[in-house]
């Protein structure tokens, strides 16, 4: 067989095309739990989510925009930067680092609210990932922290994932040695948790887009 033809076929067979003509863009915005600290990029939840969506027939690109160690203040400051990616849906997972540093929950609440507000102003459909804080920080703090997400979701009419780390947090076999960051199997469960809400967001976005088009 002609060598050039062989090379071309090899390239076609082995190349992993980026989702050509993706229907839409989902940006997973968050901290190390989104970035996938300690696991390969393909095992972090955004990559797993993209594969799961593709299997279900949703040709949507999922971009991992997680930054390890980021607080809600940091997330707030990079909204404009992330808008360069032209997201249709943003999964917002943030606040855990605020909690671990004992940041005042009023500040965290205000930041989350402002982030969602800015995204919604730009027509982005937001999925808010609820977070809980470690019990040892104290009942008052933990309760205030946990309340941030449902109250912002209610105020802003958001799709809320009740708890991002449901069935994963506190299970030693699903987490790395630090007890906080999931292993690959843990992220698989996270992906399963997030998936239905993302599908909901996709459907909501499609409806909104169609509604805007017909007006």
């Amino acid at each position: 067989m002609n060598k050039a033809l062989l090379t071309l076929i090899t390239l076609l067979l082995t190349s992993t095309p980026a989702l050509a003509e993706a229907e839409g863009t989902i940006v997973a915005m968050g901290d190390s739990l989104t970035a996938g600290l300690g696991v390969p990029a393909r095992d972090a939840y955004p990559a797993q989510l993209e594969r799961k969506l593709k299997e279900a027939g949703y040709r949507w690109q999922v971009i991992n925009a997680g930054i390890s160690g980021e607080t809600t203040s940091g997330a707030l400051s990079r909204i404009d930067w992330l808008m360069r990616l032209k997201p249709d849906v943003v999964i917002l997972e943030t606040g855990a680092n605020d909690g671990l540093r004992g940041v005042d929950t009023r500040l965290t609440r205000s930041n989350v609210d402002r982030i969602v507000g800015k995204l919604q102003e730009r027509g982005v459909t937001v999925v808010l990932a609820g977070m809980q804080m470690v019990k040892n920080l104290g009942p008052g703090y933990v309760a205030d922290f946990t309340d941030i997400y449902p109250s912002v979701a209610k105020k802003r009419h958001l799709i809320l994932i009740p708890f991002f780390l449901a069935k994963v947090a506190g299970v030693p076999s699903l987490n790395q040695a630090d007890g906080i960051h999931p292993r690959a199997e843990g992220y698989r469960i996270v992906t399963d948790t997030v998936y239905p809400y993302v599908v909901q967001a996709i459907e909501r976005h499609k409806k909104n887009t169609a509604h805007t088009a017909t007006r």
Partner: protein
Amino acid sequence: MVNLRFIGRQITGAKRQCAVFVLGVALSMVTLVSLGSFSRSVNASLLRDAQALHAADVVIHARAPLPAGVEGRLAELRNSGALKTARCYDFYSVVRSFKGEGSLLSDLKVVEPGYPFYGEVLLASGRPFVKVLTPGNVVVEKTLLDRLGLKVGDRLRIGDATLAIGDVVLEEPDRPVNFFALGPRIFVAARDLDSLGLLGMGSRVEYLTLIKISQPRELEPIASQLRAAAGDGRLRVETYKNADSRVKKFFDNLLFFLNLSGIFTLVLAGFAIQSTLFSLLDEQERTIAVMKAVGARSRFIIGHFLAVTLLLGAVGSCLGLFASLGLQGFLPALFRGLIPARVSLAVSGAAVAEAALIGFLVIFLFTALPLYRLKEVKPRAIFGKDEAARLWDRSTVFIALLGCSFFLALVLLRLNDLKAGLYFLLALASLIALACLAAEIALRLLRGSQPKSLALRQAVKGLFRPRNASRTIIVTLSAALAVIFTITVLERNLDSSFVESFPPDAPNVFFIDIQPGQRAEFAKVLGVPAQYFPIVRGTVSAVNGEPVDPEKERRSRGDNLSREFNLTYRSGLLPDERLTEGAGLFRKDWGEPQVSVLDTVLKMHALSVGDRVTFQVQGLPVTARISSIRTRTTGGLAPYFYFVFPSAVLADAPQTIFCAARLNRAQIGGAQTRVVSRFPNVSVIDLTEAASLIGRIMGRLSVIVRFFTFFSIVAGILMVAGAVFATRYARLQESVYFAILGARRRFVLTVFAVENLLLAAVSGVIALAVSQLAGLIICRRVFSLEYRPYPAECLLMFAATLFLVVGVGLGASFSILRLRPAAFLRERADE
């Protein structure tokens, strides 16, 4: 049968040589005993400190309550009296003032009675910790009182409980300097743990089980049993002996260097011993020839000279031991600040025994060659037929190889590191080879020279007199000086890099995670001038289009490209940076994004100017072309960045601001409180203590380096003296012939002085060249530091070398000058 009169006469007839021999042995003994004792004292102290640093003999670290298997084993051992336990629970919590206002993230440590098993928790009141930390009371760090506006006696809400502040903690044994504590310490009694209501599913707690072993020899067996019971690796069982200790690593490195220095001193002292013995035996050559002529066997002769050697060795050893005892009084002052004040530096019996054995072996090895050579002396030497005896044959090569093996074994024993030992010996062999080559070239140049001055001509000829030791002196002197010069130059470079890099105005407090919009107000709240650096987090995803494999990167040793980096942007170099490649930081003629790379990155991946690096900056790919490569000129605590971009590339990227400020001690607490109250998202890192501690340590280290280098200098002087004695007879002869030909004593003195000056100058030049090369390589490759040649210091060392060698050489020659020609000629006639 031993002839004691013969032995006595040998010693009294060669007093100078015997003195140098004894001093050489004494120096070896002092080096071995001092280093051996110091090493044992420090190790014992470190072990004691390690116990205090862990507050226990064994510590089990876990993130959850201990599994049943481990608990069961502990219970068995406790019941049998083999150990005692004390549990500790370490976690963060947000505590609130009982008055209602103010809350603070704090670092809680809940401890059972028994804590700490070693070391002390010091309280501000001076009261015993165990008496103050009772149920219902807590002990807190002063920062908590400052931040919440509380005082001792006020109450604190922790979890579901309200506890009273009993005292202020000043020091705790197992938390030396915590650079990154997110909150002040609070000690809580274990009986209050349940009332806090903070532990349970969903808590992030470090469970510590402190163990005190009843019988020290049971330490490792018990630790092994617990590790076996622990099984899956989620527990960490550490003993105070094998736990990672930065202090231990520091002393291991210091002792590594001191041992190397000690071995080098031994080598020099050994050569001094050898050359004086050669000289002594040369002078006795005729006597030995007569003895052989009347029937004495080589065994008899060698045996007696061996007895002389052993007697001198014993005297030298005793002298060295006394000197070591005297030195113990001085060592604490030398090492003050590096070792805890309670360490008593005493001469250890084991160190003395070890030194005696090693000393004996050194004497044996370095005297074997001269003594073995005695059998080459033939009776016809009586007639003055000075045949140059064959030095190298199978037996002498074997002795030399034995010597090399001994030193390799000594290096391995002392350093406990085969690779380092082999590198050391390779370096020593290379040094000697280089010195031999340089000496040969220098001597050939001198031999071919025709100086106009008579004294200079005679001095040059004197270097090549029969049985001269010029090559030996130059090689050993230049090798010894090269090491001493290199140590000095390195020490100056390290000194300037580290100690001078902590000038009084160096930043000592860092603030991280300042938001860009907060910068102006932050600067006002901080109230002092500071440096601000934008930080943009990003990862490297590809180099020249080739993706970076994070898994493969993580497997490499040291820093690698798999992690996140703090990218930044600016338009110029920092004060402690310079370019190593590239005409400027960025190029005006390139239209694409650019990046300047720190040379440290080149150790992670081969990169050069023109290469393209792709970064993932929070979901966005940014490909930048390398415009320049930078290096740091100091190793101080100033901020530095691996990747620097022009403003246009990253100014719009999400970023935080990092601030480096210089604050007086008195200002730090207030500044921290103001900043964190106004900007809760900002974290503070206070490096005041660390910076001043490092500065003190580096200063102390340079004193120690100079002190132990001094031993090598003394050994070098002895070696020169020994080599001068080796040619004493020939000098005597020349001096007499000069006198007969009408030369004054001043002329003879000038000739000897110039001869020694030439030896010193050649040795000094070789040593300087080698030390500059070695210093450059070590600074740039090993320490990654900028290298400075320190020409003034080098000239001073060179001048000191000339002065010393000429002084020692002339000092050893004065007796020659006093001898009257007639007396010498008469002695020769009698022979």
